[in-house]
Symmetry: C2
Subunit: 317 residues, 2 copies
Amino acid sequence: MKEVVTGIDIGGTNTVFGLVDKAGNILAENSLKTTAYPDIKNFVSALAAAINEMMEESNLKLAGIGIGAPNANYHKGTIELAPNLAWKGIVPLAEYIRKKINVPVIVTNDANAAAMGEMIFGGAKKMKNFIVLTLGTGLGSGIVINGEVVYGHTGFAGELGHTIVVPGGRDCGCGRQGCYETYASASGLVRTVLYMLSEMREESSLRDIHPSELTAKKIAEAANKKDPIAVEALDYTAEILAFGIVNAIGFSSPEAVFLFGGLAQAGEMLFTPVREYVDQNVQPIFKGTVKILPSGVSESNAAVLGAAALAWNELKK
Amino acid sequence: MKEVVTGIDIGGTNTVFGLVDKAGNILAENSLKTTAYPDIKNFVSALAAAINEMMEESNLKLAGIGIGAPNANYHKGTIELAPNLAWKGIVPLAEYIRKKINVPVIVTNDANAAAMGEMIFGGAKKMKNFIVLTLGTGLGSGIVINGEVVYGHTGFAGELGHTIVVPGGRDCGCGRQGCYETYASASGLVRTVLYMLSEMREESSLRDIHPSELTAKKIAEAANKKDPIAVEALDYTAEILAFGIVNAIGFSSPEAVFLFGGLAQAGEMLFTPVREYVDQNVQPIFKGTVKILPSGVSESNAAVLGAAALAWNELKK
């Protein structure tokens, strides 16, 4: 009987999950509204029922479950104090799920899962040292050193989004100022546009969009049409993104940094200046040693594949 | 026959080396003037002769050689483009030494060797995730993750001293501005005092010392006597030191950060404010998870013990 794992991505709004074989094929997929289950036990029951249903319809053997979730602790299998989820305190998620489905259950945050997905199914198959930055509403990071995702003493390592790049800078949801993700993310780009609309006098199509409706995608489209504010904002975003990458290189000297998520969709308009800023500013000893690459996993499958990769990697041990 | 390794610390001025047993006892020690050997081959000959002489006098068996040196590449066993050494270009140091003494030869930079010393002989014996910062003329860093020193793709990882903490800040020897070591090191403290002497009007005993003769030690002594400039400069140094530690915590979530070297000699006058600044500024998820500790290896033995630990660790594999 062919073995599969379940990859589960728990987001603030939706939870997506699928059955994934060793080659990275998604054989079945389904989803739940996370917000419909304010009680974690009901959520786990619904999730387990949906997985069992998928399995019953197949002729497959379930070998394990991998989960990407906000504020997940790899060491403990818990979700802890997640601001964007209804489940308060410390939730022993892996334990709850194992009670319903008795297979190994591995939990980590979504960016660490993305790094695992990149290593098992994506562009980092032959790499031992790389970093994945997920540039969405926030900035998530998964760091791989010597072929292992870095979890650190606490299980929460790899929080580059909350390293401070502009002391005294923009307010961050974490309660501090100047965090990397307040600049280098899809929503950081939007904030930069708003700032530039205040500072610059140039005409811009972005002046005709409600601030609440501005998105990285609309800004990238405007930049593509040479809108001066959009071009300037993308360049500044690339500069700060590169600044954080340069400091990360000094830490772990990766072979590559993969950029993923909404902001990375801007493509070469982002990658070209990021590569230039990294090259200009990196410590001489690391010059030319790091590739800045788009993710090798498609955006639509990445969350489920990353979580599944986590399970496959653990089963291999 | 009892086994020992040779631990060698190559500095810009002196090279110190000793025979070290498994328990971390230094059984014999000697040194050479690094500057007396502008030709690397002569240096290696003199070093090998001195080691052989030490061995002949003993009843010991040499199992390996560990070397801490500036700009050392662990993967390749080389010293590369070291600005403070006379040997230019890429020097295949491990290979040269092995030709003279046929045992395993391991090379890394001095801060990585210090981290290894801390793990094998010092305060990190039971730790798998920690960072050592050596605060001397520069700031060196050795990062341990999952029980392994981080060397990265290039072999040069762990260069926190050249991560940028003040964009556009002080000129650094690496050709860039605002590097961590231009603030958080013994010489960084001296630069901060000079700046504060320019900014502040308070009387200070430090106004009576030639700038070229200012040292971290003299500043710490003045701070101990409540000299206002010295106190302010130490506090600012602690703040920036803590800032870099906070960002490093976001990266690898260590159990402890060990401070070592000239600046760390300031003792509680430095450690107390560093701990406070870290506690105030660290990301909430890491609050209270990281100990800031003095090194558990004595300053005078650390260089040789660190290099020896490198060899012992490699022989264990």
